[in-house]
């Protein structure tokens, strides 16, 4: 159309992920500086505020890590499915389902001691997320129904369910008709790790690194990647695609559900409608930035968390929230575009190349 098209690089750029992210960040910061100057702010002041509030102190770092927990788990959920070539767009709903599962456990057993109640709530959350992903997993593996559509639609279902619960049966009688569930028992809250970060950071880190290493090194992860590369090759090697699709999507939902559980036992003290807070969708960006590799998600999640915390902080410094949002979006956009250039390159299209990509595969050249 413009005479150019994207072509996958035969070998990814050296140090692709990290370098792409840094280059994208730099370009975005330069472009953002122009925006800030036009809006009458000093880019240096704004950027130093963003940095100091997200990475400049232990308190700042604790905020960033806390933010990285749901981002990282949601990103992992998307990346695990993505390494098999599937798109779980439903992490948002699965986080909600996880929070509902966790809150339900707390409602049923409010008097359990913390060390029992919290793991039980987290298990409830994992089950909730997995349950919401089970339907899409079954229809995809049995009937080939696109998981993109089904997981996306179930987001709406999960939102309606939590809305019903906090407006109806689970509404806090003491809330003056506010759509919130009752405050959770005190022992359901995770202990603090340092400053604003709680033990959930450690739990998420173990899951992120564990699942990342497992998919990179295990037989299971290897089979997953073969299936993601070519379904026919997987069949030829003797891998059961149906079973893989089922387990991967359910695992993906379970991981997103855990994010909901950690929210409930961490920064949220009760179930509310907005418990997922857009993290499920942000997880798609995190996974894309990690090039759909589970092992890359943790680092991206921390960086993304820092950008979000920094963006929040400058809103309190007189930078209008619209400018702060645009700045965040530009940084993400730059990083994302750079990540694409890490694995793809632009080439001029000619008559022969444009045909070879569409028809020559079947031609008897």
């Amino acid at each position: 159309m413009f005479g150019y098209r994207f072509v996958r690089r035969e070998t990814p750029l050296w140090g692709g992920q990290l370098r792409a992210f840094l280059v994208g960040l730099l370009i975005a910061l330069l472009a953002g500086a122009v925006l800030l100057v036009l809006a009458g702010h000093s880019p240096i002041d704004v950027y130093s505020k963003m940095f100091s509030s997200s990475l400049g102190s232990t308190r700042a770092i604790s905020s960033t890590l806390g933010r990285a927990v749901p981002l990282g788990l949601a990103g992992l959920a998307v990346a695990v499915a993505g390494s098999m070539g599937m798109w779980n767009i439903g992490a948002e709903g699965q986080i909600i389902a996880g929070a509902i599962g966790g809150a339900w456990v707390a409602r049923l057993f409010p008097d359990l001691a913390g060390p029992v109640l919290i793991p039980a709530m987290l298990l409830g959350a994992v089950a909730g997320g997995a349950l919401l992903a089970l339907g899409p997993a079954i229809v995809r593996s049995r009937l080939g129904v696109s998981e993109i559509i089904t997981t996306l639609m179930l987001n709406e279902v999960a939102i309606r369910i939590v809305r019903y619960l906090v407006n109806g049966p689970w509404q806090d009688p003491a809330s003056n008709n506010f759509p919130v569930a009752p405050i959770l028992p005190e022992q359901s809250q995770l202990p603090t790790l340092f400053e604003r970060a709680n033990i959930g950071v450690l739990i998420a880190a173990v899951v992120l690194l564990g699942v990342g290493a497992f998919t990179a090194r295990s037989r299971w992860g290897y089979e997953l990647r073969i299936a993601g590369s070519s379904e026919q090759t997987a069949e030829y090697v003797g891998i059961s695609l149906k079973q893989k699709v089922l387990t991967v999507l359910v695992l993906s939902g379970a991981i997103a559900g855990l994010a909901g559980g950690l929210e409930l036992t961490g920064s949220a003290d009760r179930l509310v409608e907005g418990v997922a807070n857009g993290w499920g969708f942000a997880g798609i960006i995190v996974a894309a930035l990690a090039l759909l590799r589970p092992s890359g998600v943790a680092a991206v999640a921390v960086a993304f968390g820092a950008i979000q915390i920094g963006g929040l902080a400058i809103k309190t410094q007189g930078v209008p929230s619209s400018i702060a949002n645009i700045l965040q979006a530009m940084i993400l956009f730059g990083a994302l575009a750079a990540a694409v250039f890490g694995t793809h390159t632009l080439v001029r299209s000619t008559a022969s190349t444009s045909v070879s990509s569409t028809t020559a595969a079947g031609a008897d050249a």
Partner: protein, 509 residues
Amino acid sequence: MFAVELDGIWKRFPGVVANAGATLRVRPGSVHAVLGENGAGKTTLMNVLAGGYLPDEGSVLLDGKPQHFTRPADAIAAGVGMVHQEFRLIPTFTVAENVVLGSGPWLLSKSAIETQVAELADRFHLATTPDREVWQLSMGERQRVEILKALWTDARVLILDEPTAVLTPPEADELGRITRSMADDGRCIIFISHKLDEVTSFCDEATVLRGGQTTAASLPVADLDAGRIAELMVGEATEVSQRRNRIEPVGDTVLDVSSVVVTDVRGRTVVNGVSLDVGAGEIVGIAGVAGNGQRPLADCIAGLTRTTSGRVTVDGNDITTDKPSARSAAGLAYVPEDRLGVGLAPRMTVTENTMMRSYRRLSKGPFIDRSAADAETDALIDTYNVKVGQKKSPIAALSGGNLQRLLVGREVETNPRVLVAAQPTRGLDVQGVAAIQQLLVDQAAAGIGILLISEDLAELFALSDRLLVMHEGRVVGTFDPDDATRADVGAAMAGVRQTATAGITVEGA
């Protein structure tokens, strides 16, 4: 004056010369056949005429005027239409919408275009239903929609690329009438085919390609007989390369296929009662024009396609219903025709590709022993002389010859009793072809039974101990490569019935 004149067309692709000075001249108002084996350069030449490829050298003339097509739209504007083997229709659009797509009025009135398309169809006696959606149509009906698309843009030259491959015999006859009515209207039709009976009944003249060159230009079909065409397509017997020394005596039967029938997803019978056997140390070749059931037969032996009826045994064990991995364990190795799409994972690394058959063995608990896998990869690369840049780079970066050495090597390393190799040398350069052929010969010498499916007759003659010919899903002839001629085999490939002569036995149809 010719309606179409292609002169001295050269087109090279990496590692392949598809057209080497090919020539084609077509008279207006005629149906012109273009014949040739797979890989002869027919489709490339047609893509040059239809604006798909820019030729490296040579000229394209329409009605005597030189043309320079850089994209298909240029060719369409100049009046060249092409109906590809795989149809390019939008299933959820109606016939009329598909016909006018890309060239219709800016504002579509459904009833108006339906009327216009119906009128156009009537003019050429094309039976169609403009208001039906394409997914509801049979293959023959879809093809008529493609033809209507070309007529809608008033194509003076219409290229049909193997149009009868997807048609039932009555549909093929109908197509013959349609092409004739278009030719009578002054248009010229270029008809690519493998099937000689169609050429003689539908066409006026024929041009034959072999190895990218024109071996016979514009022969009147009335003067042709099937034997002559087969000879022009496959070349002279003198081209046969050095025949390998036969292994005597052949060992026990290691692969036995009996009365196998395979039905494809559309319900067509693509393998129709094939029986064959391969002994230890024997190479059995299967010749045939592409699309006569060789690929589904190979896939069915490998377990990638369900066997509708019949039986497959390896070393006496019935594997008919086994999964591919169980077949591998039973001693079957498979080099699929589609190397990158079926045999390998293009975006994964060299090591990840070489360990596909051994990772289960190399696993300790849930984890794969990566250093053992790396060691095996090094050994494989060394043994089979695979040139790789980095073991960690995606395998798609390797050349075709190296990919195939790696794939064949990986399969041979499973210590199989039988190796099924489908088009193992297609698309490789000369050294690559020689290396793979040598590998196969060595494996046979080591006692493996090999089923070699190929469209390269020279290769089959050089390597096979027995040569079977498939046509329309059946084995139609068994030849002894020492006695048979290429013309005999070529005629069987083209579906010409053969009377039994020395060294030839004819089975079935």
